[in-house]
Amino acid sequence: MSRHIESQSPDMDRILHRETRSSRAVVATAAAALVIGLASYGLLEAAVHAIGQPAWLIEPQVAAERLVALPAGISPLLLGAIGAVLAMIGLVFFLNGILPGHRARHLLGRRSAAGPAVVVDDEVIASALARRARLAANVTPEQVMVVVSQRQVVVNVRPTSGVPVDEDAVLTAVHSELDAMSLEPDPAVHVNVAPSGVIGA
């Protein structure tokens, strides 16, 4: 392959950064829809008022006066509940905007600096590791569970009753598979062999 990574590498870094963070497109659309809804109601009332017609739902004058007199005129329980709901929605939006939003994905190490970039879902990594661990432990697929997170891989094995599982062999197998993948960020591996076995597997 005769590729020149120099010409495309800033682009690729940007693409990879975007691919491993979650997109806010849905939340952004919801936020925009909310603002559009409120603004179009306001627009309707303002337009109706500007041409001197009676208001549709509530006269702006009356609404403002009620707002000024607020703790009066409404039960405090209802007011508090409305406030809590608004604050909750606001918190969801705010955290969506602030938090880093890592996706459950890893980058696959590039063998040559020139190959295409590869992004892998953690679920795919987990199922590949589970298959490898299952072969090393010589158990059925149901007896292995692998959890992959950003910096950690946990392999849970439930041995067949009466057949001991070699923990080191499983660890070595999973390690060799992970080395072949050369993930980024590189996770640490933990193998847990359950103390009780499964009967009749």
Binding site: D11, A46, H49, V68, L79, G83, I89, S182
Partner: protein, 203 residues
């Protein structure tokens, strides 16, 4: 890989969230703390009086309505337009050109290769593999340069690095045919189709 404005999204969402949070918090405090209620009365009465004066000062000559309402309506219209423009920015960036080149030969004109070439060729090459539950190929326009995204849905237990190696070979062959280096992103993902389908047993 698309050109969704991520920074703009984050900022606007955070600002809207903050505003809602403050309003909600204020309402809760109004309901619970009497001291806040008395502060609110004095503050909001002042603001309301100011707004009233503004409306009274801007009446149409000889009519009771204020032309401030028309300004408010226009401002809201602009706001709605901005929001629509913001939504239209989400998920943009697909393109249908894979390569553009000027041919300095004797024949006039230049060469354009459509994104369909890469999409059809790679899709066809990946279609009948037993270890894949699905594959999609899309061409994007990343800041002016065309780039290809290959999304693969392997069956359970398929080693992603071996799969990626084989896709690299396909991409290299495609580049040989097109005669240009194309930035390629391979996304090996999981979905409902892979989760509930049978595992690949033989490889």
């Amino acid at each position: 890989m698309n050109s969704t404005p991520t920074l703009l999204n984050r900022t606007l969402i955070a600002v809207l969230g903050l505003v809602l949070l403050v309003v909600g918090g204020l309402l809760m405090l109004l309901a619970a703390v009497p001291a806040v209620a008395s502060w609110w009365h004095s503050w909001s009465a002042g603001v309301w009086a100011g707004a009233n004066d503004a409306f009274n000062a801007t009446r149409f000559p000889g009519r009771p309505e204020s032309w401030l309402w028309i300004l408010v309506a226009l401002a809201l219209l602009v706001l709605i337009g901005l929001m629509v423009a913001w939504v239209a920015q989400q998920g943009k960036g697909r393109s249908d050109v894979l390569a553009v080149g000027y041919d300095p030969g004797e024949v006039p004109g230049d060469v354009r290769i459509g994104g369909g070439v890469a999409e059809q060729a790679l899709k066809h090459a990946l279609a009948h593999r037993p270890d894949l539950a699905g594959a999609t190929v899309t061409t994007y326009d990343v800041k002016g340069t065309p780039a290809v995204k290959v999304r693969l849905l392997p069956r359970q237990g398929v080693a992603p690095h071996l799969l990626a190696e084989e896709v690299f070979a396909l991409v290299a062959a495609l580049e040989l045919v097109v005669g240009k280096n194309i930035p390629v992103l391979v996304h090996i993902g999981a979905g409902a189709r892979t989760r509930f389908s049978r595992a690949e047993r033989v490889r």
